[in-house]
């Protein structure tokens, strides 16, 4: 008994011998399903051939998906790593700033403490506590404001006194050494250590060296 379905290939491709071909034609005439199978054979073969294209495309698709995932994951990982790195840098900078601020505050506190414990303000034997100072010279006015702890006004008058000193036409009863000594005290009270030291160095007054030593100790912090 011939299974004609097994011979569809050869039938379609014209490879059957004459006797089998006759039998096949006879069977086709009687069997509607066999006839339909022969009609659909070329489509089925075409689909079979296309299975290769599908297989290749599926592989390419899987590679595309892999690449997309890797790109996505890679990008997410890069962003994550960037975020972590940024956070670490941010924390480091913050720590440095806080540390610097703490040390700076600590240093200032220590300097202030030392200054408060060792500093002795100058004594002015001719101090004028009266509000009637208009007729006084600039140097006296400066010392007056100094005694009131108004260092900015004191400095204005001391600067004016310095100009008076350099003016040959003006006669004054204070020396450069005295003036610089007092200016040094203004700066030391303003915690402007370098300027204070500079003026004390220019002064020959007794006590200048002590203040220079104090400033140097303060600056050691």
């Amino acid at each position: 008994m011939i299974d004609f379905y097994e011979h569809i290939d050869d039938y379609v491709e014209g490879k059957l011998d004459q006797s089998t071909l006759d039998l096949m034609n006879h069977a086709i005439a009687k069997d509607h399903n066999l006839k339909e199978a022969i009609t659909n054979y070329p489509t089925a073969k075409k689909i079979s051939e296309a299975l290769l294209e599908i297989d290749i495309l599926e592989k390419i698709k899987s590679l595309e998906d892999t690449n997309l995932n890797e790109t996505g994951t890679g990008s997410a990982q890069i962003n994550y790593k960037k975020g972590i790195a940024f956070l670490i840098v941010f924390i480091a900078i913050l720590s440095l700033l806080l540390g610097y601020n703490y040390l700076s505050n600590q240093k200032t506190a220590n300097q202030n403490e030392l200054f408060a414990s060792l500093y002795t303000p100058p004594i002015d034997s001719q101090a004028v506590r009266s509000i009637m100072i208009e007729d006084k010279d600039a140097f006296s006015k400066g010392k007056h404001y100094f005694s009131l702890n108004d260092y900015s006004k004191a400095l204005v008058h001391f600067n004016e006194a310095e100009k008076e000193l350099s003016n040959a036409n003006t006669t004054v009863d204070y020396t450069k050494s005295e003036l610089f000594y007092w200016i040094g005290h203004v700066y030391i009270n303003n915690k402007e250590w370098a300027l204070a030291k500079k003026y004390f160095e220019k002064s020959q007054e007794k006590g200048s060296q002590e203040n220079i030593a104090l400033i140097e100790r303060i600056q050691e912090f």
Partner: protein
């Protein structure tokens, strides 16, 4: 694997079965040099990046199909040049199909397809969608046997590639699978009109 490697070796690997074929597909797909050259062909001829991606994929399919189906085919020119020629051809066909342009440049390059003798593709995305139900029903072994048989492999080769004891067993499997497929087509006449 580099394209400069022995071309015959690459072709043999493609023809050796799924493992070898997939290995070469992976290698070519990830070859950035080849990809950029194919992309350039498309971009400099009016295509966009999506067109370039599509052409790259299709030219790979066409290349693998050509090599698999024509097992006596030898490629004398540089493999990269061969694939780029296919890509140009694919893009020109696409341009013609979309009637975007019909320039002399396309006509001048008509010889590309003759030069590389590449197999034209049977399917497009729409047709593939049409087959998705069938593909989900056909078993892997059926797909493999029918695929190799329809692409010119002998029963002896199919038996070896698909781990059947003999060519007779492979033939029997092919017969069963083909019968199943024909029945499916009979029950779904719209597929016949779409594929034919």
């Amino acid at each position: 694997m580099q394209l400069s490697k022995n071309t015959a070796e690459v072709l043999n690997k493609i023809r050796s079965g799924k493992v070898g074929r997939d290995e070469v597909i992976t290698s070519l797909y990830n070859d950035q040099n080849l990809k950029s050259k194919v992309y350039n062909q498309v971009l400099k001829r009016g295509g966009n990046i999506n067109d370039a991606q599509s052409v790259f994929n299709l030219c790979l399919v066409q290349f693998f199909k050509t090599v698999t189906k024509n097992r006596s085919l030898t490629i004398d020119i540089n493999l990269e040049a061969y694939i780029i020629a296919i890509a140009k051809n694919v893009w020109f066909q696409e341009l013609r199909k979309n009637a975007k342009t019909m320039t002399t440049e396309i006509n001048d390059n008509l010889d590309v397809s003759e030069e590389n003798n590449s197999e034209s593709l049977l399917l497009n995305i729409e047709k593939m969608d049409l087959l998705s139900d069938l593909l989900s029903k056909l078993k892997r072994r059926c797909k493999d046997v029918l695929m190799y048989w329809a692409n010119g492999y002998s029963m002896e080769e199919i038996a070896q590639m698909c781990d059947y004891k003999s060519a007779m067993m492979a033939r029997k499997k092919k017969y069963q699978c083909m019968k199943e497929l024909i029945e499916y087509v009979s029950k779904n006449p719209h597929i016949r009109s779409a594929i034919s």
